[in-house]
Subunit: 342 residues, 2 copies
């Protein structure tokens, strides 16, 4: 059912019946190390190139999610997938073997929210099962967006650290799955983001570039669903990092809502910034995707969390747009995820 | 309603109530020259870079489509958009000013089919209005995928010519729009493609890389909808060109269907290959999008065509995947478009 200006509230809530995540070595040394399904022994994941390694991350995450959901690839009607690389090659080369009808997505680091939004909308409306998967890889992203690792360039503290990892989800229809013991959570609604451009031009400060989009999304969600921060246990952004966190809290406060107590950021949960030298926090399509999968979904399943607003955030830059002096617009996609029952 | 393995047949068919297209100089000298809404005076479209020019194409196409549909940007719930450039920058920088909730897509040259598929699915299920827009630009694509124009590299005859152009669509719900005099056609179903990889490694022969995906999609559509070539007036691929056309006809024939009489290819309609030196035909996200908009939709509106299967085809390569010696997998997305009434 369409709500307000940017949201859908589902009459038939899709159910997340399986999730899988896999991360790299640095993520495996961080605070969430015990929670991931797989931590790689190195960051090549058995491949010769960083890009192929990232493809393998997606393949592995989907394989784990399918196994936990008890589903075969041919039981999924659709796979919604994306990554940060030009022309989505991590997805193209990682997912071919599943032979699932594919919708390729690009929303930068917001893609996990975009994929869950569209998968939810299609499953709620048409039934059947769908998957969502996104990934990022520190080394393929540095080569794509900044400088290859071999250049050993220095990074400002405002820079975020692209997560090496992939998270995948299998969604099924409420009628068939709400009483499934494997069910992790339901998706009760989505809020879809607009491009928000505050004119930030610093590719090393993406938290500042994305925070205005996150703030807009949060306020739109409150208005569309007629909610306030009290209606959520947590409001979880994707990868704003320490710099973006302050900005989003301030921007939302200016619009009349205080989210300071409720706000968490996946990028800040991923690493111990001081010990691990990761700057402002983790980022990338794989950041929100793995932290939702490994950290938040188990808490939603157990009922420790009843309802969260999950908002992966994306910075819409490319090497070409950056070199041509363009700004870095942001976008965010919101997904309302709830404990099933009680 | 889910059909077969890969399709949805809509109970409430979304209606295309407006479309807009804009092309570059070369396209404006081709056989369809009289049919386009706008032909640029040069290929910069008032900008300083090819990428900004492509962004302007999307902005202009959406503006025309909205005007023809009699809709304001804020009346669209969603915009489904994509292009060929890394990180979809043509869309990111072309569409910000509309402030429409955005789903960024990447399906290479199949993106027009992907955008129409998802826009249809969402409009049919949830009501409201949605837009779909894709673009490509010869110069930005050559720089992205092959060599900058200034290098004056030679091209084999199998190479296609990336169309400079953008096509946009505004879709509305059947209940409100089927009797609208502006209505151009209805979308009665979609068939969603899988990645198909025959191991083609030649980025100058994308027709061969994409034809297997198109063939798979056509056969899947026939099976899911229980149809044969007789049930379609035309089967229209996006940008297979002369090389790919032969392959797709052969591959579909091997599976028991003869589509030779019914098959058309947007890329072959766009240019006069011999006079214009465009090789195998036109290609790019802007090819299928502008030819559907300028050529096929008016014929569907008038009832000259009653039902077509429209299948933009994409080659899933990137400069990095090509340089790393990867193959060029293909994907195709099918949209069934029909005359309204009679």
């Amino acid at each position: 059912m369409l709500l307000g200006a940017q949201s859908i509230g589902f009459k038939e809530c899709p159910v997340i019946i399986g999730t899988g995540n896999i991360v790299g070595t640095k993520e495996g040394e961080g605070p969430l190390r015990e929670l991931f399904d797989v931590v790689g022994e190195d960051d090549y994941f058995g491949e010769q190139t960083w890009e192929a390694a990232e493809s393998n991350l997606q393949k592995e995450a989907v394989t784990i999610a399918l196994r936990k959901a008890g589903k075969k690839p041919e039981e999924l009607r659709y796979l919604f997938a994306g990554d940060l690389l030009g022309q989505n090659i991590a997805s193209s080369f990682g997912l071919e073997s599943f032979q699932i009808p594919l919708f390729g997505l690009y929303g930068a680091c917001s893609t996990c929210g975009e994929a869950l939004s569209l998968a939810s909308a299609v499953v709620s409306a048409y039934g059947g099962y769908a998957g969502a998967v996104t990934s990022s890889h520190f080394a393929s992203a540095e080569r794509q967006f900044r400088t290859p690792l071999e250049y050993a360039s220095q990074r400002p503290l405002s820079a975020t650290w692209t997560v090496t990892g992939s998270g995948a989800y299998v969604l099924g229809p409420w009628a068939k799955e709400h009483s499934n013991a494997k069910a992790l959570a339901k998706i009760s609604g989505i809020t879809t983001g607009k491009i928000v451009d505050y004119g930030v031009k610093d590719a090393m400060n993406m938290g500042a570039a994305m925070a205005p989009a996150a703030a807009d999304l949060i306020v739109a969600n409150f208005k569309d669903f007629k909610r306030t921060p009290k209606d959520y246990d947590l409001i979880v952004t994707g990868d704003l990092g320490e710099v973006g966190k302050k900005i989003v809290i301030d921007l939302v406060r200016e619009r009349g809502y205080d989210i300071e107590d409720k706000h968490r950021d996946c990028g800040m949960l991923m690493y111990d910034g001081e010990d691990q030298g990761t700057g402002s926090g983790g980022s990338g399509c794989g950041c929100a995707a793995t932290v939702l999968s490994a950290f938040f979904l188990p808490r939603l399943q157990k009922g420790i969390l009843k309802r969260i607003l999950f908002i992966p955030t994306g910075a819409l830059l490319s090497p070409i747009s950056f070199n041509e002096g363009q700004s870095v617009p942001g976008i965010a996609h919101g997904v309302v995820i709830e404990h099933i029952g009680g």
